[in-house]
């Protein structure tokens, strides 16, 4: 089973992503804040993390700095409207995140990225 960590503070969005990805047989853990996300990330060592960048307390960018984070694909998502270019530049350079999704995004596009990076469940 492939494990995916969803770090998302909005409960509706979190459960929606969980239901969607579980329907494709991935194992999903959800964390609602940056610190909880990092803890879960280090405990469970997921194959992929999908992280909201505007989390309460800790920014989603933090995860990439952990030991496991360096070798795990990370997808970032946010509802930030204006700064897509900046966010995309970050995903390519500093953070080495593998994808960036602007909410609302197409779930099929997310799924195709997930399958591309960690394969089918």
């Amino acid at each position: 089973m492939k494990k995916i960590l969803v770090v998302e503070d909005d409960p509706v969005n979190a459960s929606m992503l969980r239901d969607y990805l579980e329907a494709y047989n991935y194992t999903i853990s959800v964390a609602a804040s940056g610190p909880a996300g990092i803890a879960t990330f280090n405990d469970e060592k997921p194959d992929l993390a999908i992280v909201d960048v505007l989390l309460p307390r800790t920014n989603g960018f933090e995860i990439k700095r952990t030991e496991h984070g360096k070798k795990t694909p990370i997808f970032l998502m946010s509802a930030i409207y204006k700064d897509i270019e900046h966010a995309e530049a970050c995903t390519r350079t500093d953070l080495q995140a593998q994808a960036y999704f602007v909410k609302p995004f197409d779930l099929e596009r997310l799924l195709s990225h997930v399958q591309l990076f960690i394969g089918e469940a």
């Binding site: 909005d10 509706v12 969005n13 929606m16 992503l17 239901d19 969607y20 329907a23 505007l54 946010s78 509802a79 930030i80 409207y81 204006k82 909410k103 609302p104 995004f105 779930l107």
Partner: protein, 272 residues
């Protein structure tokens, strides 16, 4: 009677302080010239001095009328106008009685124009400057035509080398150049102060604009997050992830999603 806007503006309550200053300036200037004439007469520089005293008395009367008009708040514009006209007339008279074209008093017009510029506005300043030119010109023409008798200048009366003349002339120059310097410097100070206030206001507006942009970005974020939930969940429903769906339910889901997307369009239009 209707006055042009630039004149009417002078009597507005906002300008009262300036009108009061003009009365203080008027008494001060009249006093200074009175003493100057007394001293010049005493030093033997001014053979004819009574017309000059009469002019100063006239100015003191109009100045007092202007003071009373302000005190009782009636006919303020008329009284102040009369006071300025009296300034120009007494100045021209003083220039005439101290030698006409060769009078050393010519520079007094500069005092008048600079103080009017400080206390009133552009239109009034141009009007007063133009009147000064016209009065001086009329005096010169009348003397040239022989209608007015050409009178001797204190320079020719006492001789340029006279110590008394030099002392009085230096005192006169100090005041007559000093006053416009003071008035114009004050005008520049006021302008600079206004410019600074505008810059400050501008900075505040830019700052407020930045806050507004940040606020809008936050609002956008707040609105897009739930819309993402609506779109995603309705896709999940119609995708059969929560169980079998009928065609009618699928149709309803399409409508939910379309509405959510049009809401998104509204947000983009309002905020972008």
């Amino acid at each position: 009677m209707r006055y042009p806007a630039f004149l009417a503006e002078v009597a507005l309550p906002a300008n009262r302080k300036n009108l009061r200053s003009s009365i203080v300036t008027g008494y001060g200037t009249a006093l200074f010239f009175g003493l100057l004439f007394v001293a010049s007469h005493g030093a033997g520089l001014l053979p004819i001095v009574w017309p000059l005293y009469a002019l100063i008395a006239f100015k003191l009367v109009t100045n007092t009328l202007a003071y009373l008009s302000l005190r009782y708040e009636t006919l303020m514009l008329e009284a102040s106008g009369l006071n300025v006209a009296a300034d120009l007339l007494t100045m021209t008279g003083a220039v005439y009685f101290t030698g006409g074209r060769s009078s050393p008093l010519f520079a007094v017009y500069g005092m008048e124009v600079s103080v009017v510029a400080l206390l009133t506005n552009r239109g009034t300043t141009i009007l007063v400057g133009g009147s000064a030119i016209a009065l001086y010109g009329a005096m010169v023409i009348l003397v040239h035509a022989g209608v007015l008798t050409a009178l001797p200048s204190p320079i020719t009366a006492a001789g340029v080398g006279s110590v008394g003349y030099v002392v009085i002339q230096l005192l006169f120059v100090a005041v007559v150049l000093g006053a416009p310097t003071f008035y114009t410097a004050t005008i520049l100070g006021v302008l600079r102060e206004k410019g600074r206030a505008l810059e400050e206001r501008n900075r505040e507006l830019v700052e407020a604009g930045r806050h507004k942009s940040q606020f809008m970005a936050n609002i956008t974020h707040e609105l897009r997050t739930p819309i993402h939930g609506i779109c995603g969940l309705s896709d999940l429903v119609s995708g059969g992830i929560y169980g079998p769906v009928t065609e009618k339910q699928k149709d309803a889901q399409q409508k939910i999603k379309r509405s959510a997307q049009s809401l998104l369009g509204l947000i983009a239009a309002e905020i972008a």
